[in-house]
Amino acid sequence: SAVISQKPSRDICQRGTSLTIQCQVDSQVTMMFWYRQQPGQSLTLIATANQGSEATYESGFVIDKFPISRPNLTFSTLTVSNMSPEDSSIYLCSVSHNPLDEQFFGPGTRLTVL
């Protein structure tokens, strides 16, 4: 298993600003992911955070809007840039030790953009 913490747990931001979300894991993990959960909806994968290289983004998500860093095997950040109200969502970090096994999820960051 893995214990995952995210900071901040929630935030209210003004449109046009940026917010950086941190994800910290209590052990080294092979893979880290970032998801978005829009109000009342399911989870959508934003990108896979690769240690030491650029993240791999899913269709519909771009680096300029969602820059991701992963400096080591236990930490990653997701920045939501130039925010608009449509970015209001829960952002979740997840990790996996094995590409063919379960992912463990953090508690999420609830973002509201005014």
Partner: protein
């Protein structure tokens, strides 16, 4: 086409009654399947998973699921629900692509009433 389909957006049930939450997957999804639960204002917690072996999988909190390859289904069941089972339930599967990607169904809200 939806890769993972949860036909029921909401399932109301009385306490101590049995429940089945349905999940079907498409050919683009591998047979690595998962059920997650999300309690209000919390992250996702793994209920159970199917990776291989016995098609009947037992998970936490008395839940079980049956993998049915011919019907491409992975339905979740519990013989007797509690009020505390009220939550959102997500079925998920790993895609068949060479790069690990977990795709989620749209979720089923289980509402248990006294």
């Amino acid at each position: 086409a939806q890769s993972v389909t949860q036909l029921d957006s909401q399932v109301p049930v009385f306490e101590e009654a049995p429940v089945e939450l349905r999940c079907n997957y498409s050919s683009s999804v591998s047979v690595y399947l998962f059920w997650y639960v999300q309690y209000p204002n919390q992250g996702l917690q793994l209920l159970l998973k199917y990776l291989s072996g016995s098609t009947l999988v037992k998970g936490i909190n008395g839940f079980e699921a049956e993998f049915n390859k011919s019907q491409t289904s992975f339905h979740l069941r519990k013989p007797s629900v509690h009020i505390s089972d009220t939550a959102e339930y997500f079925c998920a599967g790993l895609m068949n692509t060479g790069f690990q990607k977990l795709v989620f169904g749209t979720g089923t809200r289980l509402l248990v009433s006294p």
